[in-house]
Symmetry: C2
Subunit: 195 residues, 2 copies
DNA sequence: CGACTTTCCTACACCGGCGTAACAAAGTCA
DNA sequence: TGACTTTGTTACGCCGGTGTAGGAAAGTCG
């Protein structure tokens, strides 16, 4: 098997291991066992465990970024900030539903991952928070809202709710359907005063 | 040193280790090193690592419970659900500010902890969610609110925001003061329509 | 075919945590 | 003081993960 393919296979296997047994369980040894091969093969694809994790996150971040991009407000949303937010949440939740294994990485945070990686994740979260902050400011201006609202905290809260929604979906997809989560956001947005 | 005292000392040391080096770093060996003693001493206090973690959580849950109890609505809140929630959040956030190390346990979730313990934490979270669900129902009845609100999700969202507030406080206490967080909640509650 | 490269395995030395047995030191009390 | 308990230590064997060296097997190309 070519190194490239091997790498992909190993990353998928890593997701399996983590999903099944948790972060602690991800070792070079376990990874080798998972794809039924010996350790030197794994070492030929990745320098060490932290390299595996780094690749894993890089791949997942790629996907996360594309989800975020596709959830941003479009032209049609220009006059309806509420719809924009509802749509953004909907897109996100569906992405989680589509790739639960991958999103578990981000949503059920990794302790014990190298500090460098944790830092990257945190940095990305910050970027999303900034993105949402913009959205909130724009929405406030456009549609009105609570006067004196702490925009930054509002953005953080929205992010927290979105992430919690993702987690709920991961834990109990039947109980918490994307539809239900989306409806909830719509109700809340409808209930926020416009001045 | 008496076994009882030793146990307490070890639990404190465990918090130190986790705060400094993460969950992965907490081993019987590391624990022994931390209090400058040999492993058999640790083993004489706790059967194994999972026993240490269990004790740690039991102690922290005790504290968590008392915080929750003290944040519940009292007589004076009976006619003002908004104030009740604001107060609840305020109490919680202050508790976190008072014992950051301890709350880190709960708020920065433990992956790699034995499944049994993760289960306990999850169960407690569920209880808090139930508690908040009651509060939301009561508040809806009392003060009015969005019609057709998904009460369960509302409670989950509130919990998510509260926990996020706690995390923000842990990460950057200067930027996110208890006062600021409390003000934010007050603003939001004020902005939710009453019918 | 035969030389060469790629892919993989076996086998090793090493490390660090686990858990226990056996024993030493110090305090307690009849 | 001498027996007993409590508290601690040293020292061992075990396990499982790490990383690497050396060589087998299979595929590739002149």
């Amino acid at each position: 098997m070519a190194v490239e393919d091997r790498r992909e296979q190993l990353l998928d296997a890593a997701l399996d291991v983590i999903a099944r047994d948790g972060w602690q369980a991800l070792t070079m040894e376990a990874l080798a066992r998972e794809v039924d091969v010996t350790r030197p093969v794994v070492y030929s694809a990745f320098r060490d465990l932290s390299a595996v994790l780094a690749s894993l996150f890089r791949r997942q971040e790629e996907r996360a970024r594309s989800v975020v991009e596709s959830s941003l407000p479009t032209m049609e949303d220009l006059d309806d900030p509420d719809a924009a937010l509802v749509r953004a949440v909907g897109r996100f939740v569906e992405a989680v539903a589509d790739d639960p294994r991958g999103w578990r990485l981000v949503l059920l945070p990794p302790d014990g991952t190298p500090a460098a990686i944790r830092h990257i994740v945190e940095q990305n979260r910050q970027q999303y928070a900034d993105r949402i902050t913009e959205l909130v400011s724009w929405g406030l201006e456009r549609r009105g809202g609570p006067s004196g609202l702490d925009v930054e905290l509002a953005a953080r809260s929205i992010l927290a709710i979105i992430e919690e929604a993702g987690r709920l979906l991961l834990v109990d997809p039947d109980r918490y359907s994307p539809q239900r989560l989306e409806d909830f956001v719509r109700t809340i947005m409808g209930a926020l005063t416009r001045e």
